[in-house]
């Protein structure tokens, strides 16, 4: 299972394939680290499973980033991730890209 990784230099966070409540501690740590970079890049292209807790964490992250003036960019978002966000009414909050290029 891929773990969330942050590269401190460019604030890049790759979300794991199983992005659910049980594994969010590492994701949270990675997101916190990403906030210390001038700009953060989220890669959600590998996400195969997602739940409310994960999407809530991402929403909190986006708000925190906005408050601190850290720019956040999506490098990819899987269908699962986008579907979950849409169902929870969080697409706008997360500023997810409309669709990923195939």
């Amino acid at each position: 299972m891929g773990k969330a990784k942050t590269d401190k230099a460019d604030g890049r966070v790759a979300l794991p394939a199983d992005c659910r409540i049980a594994d969010l501690a590492t994701v949270k740590a990675a997101l916190e680290a990403a906030l210390s970079a001038p700009a953060a890049v989220l890669d959600g292209g590998m996400v195969e499973r997602v739940d409310t807790a994960a999407l809530q964490l991402l929403a909190v992250f986006r708000r925190e980033a906005a408050a601190r003036g850290v720019a956040v960019e999506w490098r990819g978002a899987s269908d699962v991730l986008r579907d979950g966000a849409a169902r929870l009414g969080l697409t706008q909050t997360l500023e997810l890209p409309a669709a990923t290029p195939a």
Binding site: D51, A59, G89
Partner: protein
């Protein structure tokens, strides 16, 4: 005609109609597989009785609805229309709709709602009549033709409890067109966030012909873990009666909960066969005769008539015992009432998941206590859902595994050694040992999976830690873990076991007591007091020597029992009744099993085995941890009944603290 005088018959009408609806559903399912004329007649008769009753007892909405269904059934009966899958589906939906109407009738709510009206029009359209909207019964504010405005605020712990809001909203989205707006006002900062807590809330708009019950149904399992309000969306077709609308809308948030409670209260009646009543009257007659015979001894008694007196007393004892059994029998109902919901559920689930399932029901006439019956429904539903969702494979996977396309799910109830045994077995894939061990390792439930027996591995799925969050959606799909199933069964004084063979399927065996009102128990003395240990939980009684006891740090005592070390629980300490026998040789250790754990209970001595009529301690005094009830002994003194599961739970907590 006064409706007040008729109200007393409502419960009977509801009970009978529920049976009628069950019969309709069963017949419709049979019809689905190509049935005969007699089935159609049966369905027609049931619908006709409900229509007649509804009209008589003042439920015009229900009568109007049933009338349309009856018209359609009439055409089927006369052969003017052929039965097809579409018709069966429509009629099954009508049965569901009528059930909803009955639930609302019992809760004193308006009967018709948007969904029922839509279905009524659909039925009419099928028989080639269109109904003028004006002919529809007066709508209430409760009837939203366009849908519901839902405010859903989960409590913080809901996600950690395994209930994913995303899954709930997904289910809700299947009912109609769902628009979700997240409420972000309670979100903390990133540093302060515990990812397992829920701080989100939602304002939802569900558009479509959906009944309140259907919406509530989605939130059934999280009722106590969220704040939920439901209000009908304002729609053009809804005519608000101003006087009635305001209170109804205000009551909406609590209405559903109150309805559920009322429904429970309303259903607490038992319909008893006349033969059972007759045999009771007969027995009471016998008792009176015996008593008058014994009465004659009061006036003149001498030693020569001693034998007659003994005979009379023996007769009295026999009749009392039979009377007791008969009275208990009144509470006994066939398990069919629980089993009957499964054919429909299995059919719907199978269709939804693209699996072919054959359901075998065996032993539906097995009788068990009404209380047990009411509480066993949910765990069984959960196990059946599990079996279809995760046990049985899709047809192509079955073919790949060399099995037939159709999976078999078997529910069997039987009496065994004074208990009820319910088995849920499937011929699916069985439990995935590797996946379970991996999950348990990750959760820290076990240190290593090596050397564990298959039974021990299977048992892991019942562990509370196993079924949190991420795992539950994999294993159950409903967010409620197997630990809840086990707890429900244990609360009923039963136990649950699992056997599974990879590739061949799983068998869940639930063992339940026949009744909760009488238990077989072993009477033990502790510090001069009588305590009763339920026989069902006793494994063995042993006498220990001092050297067999090991003391561990923290004051706990252990002894060796069949390849494992069990803790000793001194009842004199647990219940603070100050026994004098401290040395282990002076008393006995009763090895009991409760909640999956074994404990040795140290008592002074055993008095004997007896049946105890359980009296609720909670109702007469208050709840006491470790005590499940009380009983009156032959000499009039009170003996407390030991709650083995409660004691062992408390012990585990204390050790953990």
């Amino acid at each position: 005609m006064s409706t007040v005088s008729l109200a007393q018959f409502h419960q009977t009408f509801f009970d009978e109609s529920h049976e009628g609806l069950d019969a309709m559903e069963t017949a419709l399912l049979a019809l689905d597989g190509g049935g005969d004329k007699e089935l159609v007649h049966g369905i027609f008769r049931a619908a006709h009785s409900i229509k007649g009753g509804a009209a008589t007892f003042g439920f015009p909405d229900m009568a109007a609805f049933t009338h349309e269904a009856e018209s359609l059934l009439d055409e089927l009966r006369d052969g003017r229309r052929a039965v097809d899958a579409g018709i069966v589906e429509l009629l099954l939906r009508s049965v569901d709709c009528l059930r909803g109407m009955f639930a609302r009738a019992q809760a004193g709510q308006p009967l018709a709602d948007a969904a029922s009206e839509a279905l009524r029009h659909e039925l009419a359209a099928v028989v080639g009549r269109s109904l003028a909207p004006a002919a529809a019964p007066a709508r209430r504010s409760d009837d939203a033709s366009t849908g519901w405005a839902i405010s859903f605020r989960p409590h913080q712990g809901m996600l950690a409890g395994g209930n994913d809001a995303l899954r709930l909203l997904r289910e809700l989205g299947e009912l109609g067109e769902l628009k979700a707006e997240a409420e972000l006002d309670r979100l903390p900062g990133l540093g302060a966030l515990d990812p397992s807590e829920c701080h989100l809330g939602w304002r939802l708009e569900l558009r479509g012909d959906v009944s309140r019950a259907a919406v509530k149904g989605v939130f059934d399992w999280v009722e106590d873990e969220c704040d939920l309000t439901l209000e009908p969306l304002p729609g053009a077709e809804v005519h608000h009666a101003p006087a009635a609308a305001a209170p109804a809308a205000a009551a909406a948030p609590i209405a559903a909960k109150a309805a559920a409670r009322e429904a429970v209260a309303a259903e607490s009646s038992v319909r008893v066969g006349i033969d059972k009543i007759d045999s009771l009257i007969n027995l009471v007659g016998e008792l009176v005769i015996t008593q008058s015979m014994l009465d004659t001894f009061r006036e003149d008694f001498d030693a020569s008539r001693l034998e007659m007196l003994q005979q009379g007393l023996a007769q009295l004892a026999r009749h009392t015992r039979t009377l007791q059994e008969s009275v208990m029998g009144i509470r006994m109902l066939p398990i069919a009432s629980v089993f009957n919901r499964f054919p429909r559920m299995v059919r719907d689930l199978g269709q939804k998941l693209g699996k072919q399932v054959r359901l075998d029901l065996v032993g539906e006439q097995t009788e068990l206590d009404k209380t047990v019956l009411e509480k066993i429904g949910d765990p069984l539903v959960h196990l059946v859902r599990n079996a279809i969702d995760h046990g049985l494979e899709t047809p192509d996977r079955r073919r790949a595994a060399g099995k037939g396309d159709i999976g078999t799910l078997r529910l069997e109830a039987s009496h065994r050694n004074g208990s009820i045994v319910v088995e849920i077995s499937d011929d699916g894939a069985g439990l995935n040992r590797e996946a379970i061990v991996a999950k348990a390792l990750q959760r820290g439930l076990i240190a290593s999976g090596e050397g564990m027996t298959d039974e021990a591995v299977a048992d892991l799925i019942f562990q509370p830690g196993f079924s949190t969050a991420a795992v539950t959606t994999d294993l159950s799909g409903r967010g409620v873990g197997m630990d809840v199933v086990r707890r429900n069964v244990v609360d009923l004084g039963g136990s649950i076991q699992i056997r599974s063979v990879a590739g061949q399927g799983s068998v869940f065996t639930i063992t339940l007591p026949l009744t909760l009102a009488i238990i077989d128990g072993l009477t033990a003395m502790v510090g001069g007091e009588h305590y009763i240990v339920p026989l069902a939980s006793i494994v063995e009684t042993v006498q220990l020597r001092g050297e067999q006891l090991r003391t561990v740090t923290g004051g706990g005592e252990l002894f060796h029992f069949r390849d494992s070390w069990l803790p000793v629980l001194r009842l004199q300490d647990a219940f603070a009744c100050g026994g004098t026998r401290r040395a282990i040789e002076q008393g006995l250790v009763v090895v009991v099993e409760g909640d999956g754990a074994r404990v040795g209970l140290f008592v002074d001595e055993l008095v004997g085995q007896q049946q105890a009529v359980v009296k609720s301690l909670e109702a007469n005094y208050r709840r006491v941890i470790g005590i499940s009830g009380a009983t009156i002994l032959a000499d009039g003194s009170v003996a407390l009944i030991v709650d083995v599961a409660g004691l062992s739970r408390q012990m585990t907590r204390r050790r953990a603290a």
